[in-house]
């Protein structure tokens, strides 16, 4: 199965990316799309914009590693991951994960798995503009825990 992984400054079209995975096929019974969107407030404070920095070369490779892991775990028929970089304002899409499979459970779980690892392992960093100040977003324990639950699940099985 070929996966599409792109890191780009430009906006993306969620519907078009989903359609690309299913066009001309009848074996796919489920497509899940996850879109991460820039919020207009963070911890109650209005957010003017966020800027995403990334490590070219490694970011693509790290996403590919987790897409490969997802393919080994679930019977996927298509995967697309697009992550934007640069400056974006509230309401703009940041990241897209599309997973396709014969049945919904694999598509749901694989999309969630890829996002959890993307947040904690892919080398991207967010900087927010609030008022006249800029600040680097700090990693959260909740995101670490979300990624860790896939590891625990393995150990229990």
């Amino acid at each position: 199965m070929a996966a599409t992984i792109r890191i780009q400054r430009e906006r993306f079209d969620t519907a078009a990316e989903s359609a690309k995975l299913t066009r001309g096929r009848t074996d796919i019974g489920a497509v899940v799309t996850f879109t991460g969107i820039c919020r207009g407030a963070e911890d109650g404070a209005p957010l003017k914009a966020l800027t995403l920095e990334y490590y070219p070369g490694m970011a693509e490779a790290e996403i590919a590693r987790h897409v490969d892991d997802a393919q080994a775990r679930w019977p996927l028929l298509g995967v697309t991951v697009i992550h934007r970089h640069g400056r974006m304002e509230p309401g703009e899409d940041i990241v897209l994960v599309v997973t396709a499979s014969s049945h919904r459970q694999a598509a749901f779980e694989a999309a969630s798995f890829i996002m959890d690892f993307l947040k904690t392992r892919a080398p991207f960093w967010k900087q927010v503009e609030q008022g006249d100040a800029t600040a680097w977003v700090e990693a959260t324990k909740a995101d670490d825990a979300a990624a860790q639950r896939w590891v625990k699940k393995d150990a229990a099985e």
């Binding site: 070369g57 947040k119 392992r121 892919a122 080398p123 991207f124 967010k126 990693a139």
Partner: protein
């Protein structure tokens, strides 16, 4: 060896990347962090809390105790916040 810095590590060091000759005796990732921290105020500030610094050797995540080996590139950065 090429060293890359990202996010606030890059801001504190004041450069995106540099080529350095790693001295003998500096054999692991944490050795390199300790050596870099002694190179000047900006490095001391960037690496003041080594526990929050993440590293990638030839574009793969590594732990502080990982040997540098024959790696060509190492990157230092804070915990990731993408997605």
């Amino acid at each position: 060896m090429k060293i890359l810095y990202f996010a606030w590590v890059r801001e504190r060091v004041g450069k995106t990347d540099e080529d350095v000759d790693v001295p003998h005796g500096v054999t692991t990732v944490s050795d390199l962090v300790a050596w870099l921290a002694g190179r000047g105020e900006e490095y001391a500030y960037a690496f003041e809390n080594p526990r929050v610094i993440r590293a990638a050797l030839d574009r793969t995540h590594v732990k502080p105790e990982t040997p540098l080996g024959g790696a060509r590139e190492i990157a230092f950065f804070p915990p990731m916040t993408g997605g």
